[in-house]
Amino acid sequence: MTLLSAEGLTKRFGGVLAAKDVSFGLEGGEMLAIIGPNGAGKSTTFNMVGGQLRPDAGRVTLAGQDITGMPPRAVCRMGVGRTFQVAQTFLSFSVIGNVQMALIAHHGQTRMLLPDAMAMHQDAALALLERVGMAAQADRPIGELAYGDVKRVELAIALAAAPRLLLMDEPTAGMAPAERSALMALVAGIARAERIGVLFTEHDMDAVFAHADRILVLVRGEIIARGTPEEVRADPEVQRVYLGHSGTRAAERARRAHG
């Protein structure tokens, strides 16, 4: 069964049609990228899937179950983890504390009144940090980390929910290029090993063409092209509206690297 399917998602903000009839499907283990210029409606689409926004029209189903309009907390409990375009973490917590908090929530223990929260799920939290390469920083306050590292911790937080689906809105924004491809490789590895579906956006075309199985191109709220990286790269409309020369070059580089 399709893991995630979005049908006809539409969202309007006043006069702005931020998403218009956006439809796509995503399988477990698949990496689906949404690309598009600033203001294209990528975050809006993410938020409609994650429950942060209620679509004006359309349907979101997760493994056959309708989750349209459910609040984020309910969507999370259905097995969806997410990261935000501007990283959202618990700034007063340590790095490991952030992940422990996510595990506490995942286990439905947020109303416990007596045990010491920071003694709970330590090993599991450390293991998650290990996976994203942040174990060495576990005890630092998260506010001290470089932004790229915060994004990694956010990934660990998202993974704490044992998700079937990961929503990653610009996961590598603020990272150095080398770091970016390392993180995307890490995500792709996790996705394939655990059959987690990943929906992500990226402005870095190298990362997109290197790691996406399929790509949607969103411009002014509408999907103007979709397909494998090769198909999207070859699409003349996409080249004209969005990719331009830099995008084509990135695609070339990616093809050669993975050739």
Partner: protein
């Protein structure tokens, strides 16, 4: 009921709406530009009235002309505007960047200072003002006489609205005010002009408050309670209208004026309750008021002002706690007076601790925590005095009363955040205060009730002290545990990033509601204990000054620390107990201290302790 009567009723509603709008428009403009909710706005209103009852009769001595009356009113408004400038230059410009709670407290400090200064200058007796020459007669409308001055007031509101519209659209100053209200970032880009804009805004805002006050003098005598009574109403108007929106304030004032005018016919004693209910309903449907706009979500995340990463006590901390505990136990060896103060400190410490559970740990800035303290006291007191129950079940009822009302009010409160939340907690506290104050048959009204004594076994001061010590220390230890436990951590997480908390599966609103209820129950327990320690209850237990006392204890102790508020309570209450009998100007002293703490000592005793320890290490 006749039509003419309804018309007159509606007209008097319009007159009060008009006055209310003049005052609230100033508050909302100042908020729009500075993002500070200025408690002292009520003080400006009061000063307007006091200056007018001084200046206007003096002018009327010269010539009893209507013109001189209005010259006097305008002079009063301008004088108050000048005081607004003073406040901006001396205080506000130093606190534009501090957390909301500190801003509120600092401006409340000004309220306290002005209260004492007004008493110093004008004395404690109410001062009636002259009637306005030329407007002293009644006008007959459909067989009913209606005061001409009230008709005049009805016209003032729209006139002020029109003038403000012209100012906002036709002058550079006004355009800047609108721009700053709509776009925070823009203000930073103003540079030098920014200082001018803010100072000018305070002049305008204060002058409007002063005008509102001065216009009242033919209707009410200038008195020293005017400030707090008007400020809650003005808050309600600006919150319903949408903070920063002048037209919103106008609509809200009209609504409230009519609600009061007709509410008086149906529920004569609880019009205030109706007004607050309207506010609660509006805020639930439109959380930013009728014409307000949501504050653009800050893109970057800032470290919250509150408890950060609570750690177990270190050795020095444990020693300090043990020392405190030993002092509590040893107090009865001293004199009876020390026992009395010690008992009170313990009780207030529990209340302050429960408040910090909300403010410091949950980021829920409650400005009406005394409500739950007082309702706990009344819950227990009424059971003893009216139902004849003994102390034990009454003490059990106290946290239930506090918790039940916190659950009821909290249901609405946790839907909001930031300044709107603070205003709503304040409003609910004022509802509770009004009901307790006016429901004389049950609560004894202003005088309260006496005869709330402990059971015989606990009747001696010493035994009661130990009882209080056992209950409060146990409650504080439990609450402290909750702060360290998943529930407390979840509240901190939701405070840090509600969006992230939601995305990991936390039902933020429900957790905040449960937290609010728990804190209310703890405050209620403290209130019950307090009632038995005094032997009486009265409405001041629920009042704004009590809530501010609690907040001052937090501020003094340090809201970033878990146990700081306990130390803050001890220091605050001991200081109050020591100084209050020595001076007639306790409020002046307290106000200055609050401002000094916000400006130079914002992390309180706990912060000082940390610095000390770090320097030694």
């Amino acid at each position: 009921m006749q039509w003419d009567f309804l018309l007159v009723q509606s007209l008097s509603g319009l007159a009060s709406a008009s006055s209310l709008f003049v005052i609230a428009s100033g508050l909302t403009i100042v908020f729009g530009v500075t993002r500070i909710v200025n408690f002292a706005h009520g003080s400006f209103y009061m000063l307007g009235a006091y200056i007018a009852v001084t200046v206007v009769p003096w002018l009327l001595e010269i010539d009893r002309s209507p013109w001189l009356f209005f010259v006097g009113v305008l002079v009063s408004a301008l004088a108050v505007g000048a005081l607004g400038v003073l406040m901006e230059m001396l205080l506000l410009r130093r606190i534009y960047r501090v957390p909301e709670l500190f801003q509120l407290l600092a401006t409340f400090g000004v309220v306290l200072i002005v209260q004492d200064l007004v008493l110093l200058v004008w004395g404690p007796v109410d001062i009636p003002g002259p009637r306005a020459p030329g407007l002293r007669h009644g006008v007959v409308i459909l067989d009913q006489r209606f005061p001409a001055y009230e008709l005049f007031l009805i016209a003032v509101g729209p006139a002020v609205l029109g003038l403000l519209w012209l100012l906002m659209h036709r002058t550079r100053f006004g355009v800047l005010i609108r721009a700053a209200t709509q776009d925070r970032e823009m203000v930073g880009a103003l540079g030098v002009n920014q200082a001018m804009l803010f100072t000018g805004t305070l002049f305008l805002g204060a002058a409007l408050a002063g005008l509102g006050g001065a216009l009242q003098i033919p209707r009410v005598s200038a008195n020293s309670q005017m400030d707090l009574s008007i400020i809650t109403e003005a808050f309600v108007v600006t919150v319903i209208g949408g903070m920063g929106s002048v037209p919103g304030a106008f609509i809200a004032a009209l609504l409230i004026g009519q609600l009061q005018a007709f509410g008086v016919l149906i529920f004569p004693k609880i019009t205030l309750v109706l007004v607050f209910l309207l506010m609660a309903v509006v805020l639930v449907i439109k959380p930013w008021g009728l014409l307000g706009k949501p504050e653009a979500a800050a893109g970057r995340v800032v470290l919250p002002e509150g408890i950060l990463d609570p750690r177990p006590l270190d050795r020095a901390g444990k020693m300090l706690a043990a020392l405190g505990l030993a002092a509590v136990l040893a107090l009865p060896l001293l004199d009876a007076y020390a026992v009395k103060v010690g008992t009170e400190v313990l009780i207030l410490a529990l209340a302050a601790f429960s408040l910090n559970f909300l403010v410091g740990n949950g980021g829920i800035v409650s400005f009406g925590h005394a409500a739950y303290f007082g309702l706990g006291a009344y819950g227990a007191g009424l059971l003893v005095v009216k139902a004849g129950l003994p102390m034990e079940p009454a003490l059990l009822a106290a946290p239930i009363a506090g918790g039940a009302f916190a659950a009821l009010f909290g249901f609405f409160v946790v839907r909001l955040s930031g300044i709107y939340l603070a205003m709503l907690t304040l409003a609910f506290a004022q509802i509770a205060y009004a009901v307790v104050f006016q429901w004389v048959e049950v609560t004894g009204g202003d005088n309260g009730l006496v005869g709330v004594w402990p059971s015989r076994w606990a009747a001696s001061r010493e035994v009661y002290h130990y009882l209080v010590a056992a209950v409060t220390v146990a409650a504080i230890i439990l609450l402290r545990r909750v702060i360290h436990a998943p529930f407390g951590a979840t509240l901190r997480a939701a405070r840090d990033s509600a969006q992230r908390a939601d995305a990991i599966g936390v039902d933020v609103r429900t957790h905040r509601w449960l937290g609010f209820t728990l804190a209310g129950a703890a405050a209620g327990l403290a209130g019950g204990l307090y009632a038995f320690s005094k032997g009486s209850i009265d409405p001041t237990l629920l009042g704004i000054p009590m809530s501010v006392d609690f907040l001052s204890m937090l501020l003094l102790g340090g809201i970033q620390s878990v146990l700081g508020p306990v130390a803050g309570t001890a220091a605050f209450h001991a200081a109050k107990d020591f100084f209050m009998p020595l001076t007639d100007h306790w409020r002046l002293f307290l106000g200055l201290s609050i401002i000094a703490m916000v400006l130079v000592f914002p992390r309180g005793l706990a912060g000082a302790w940390d610095t000390l320890r770090r320097r030694r290490a």
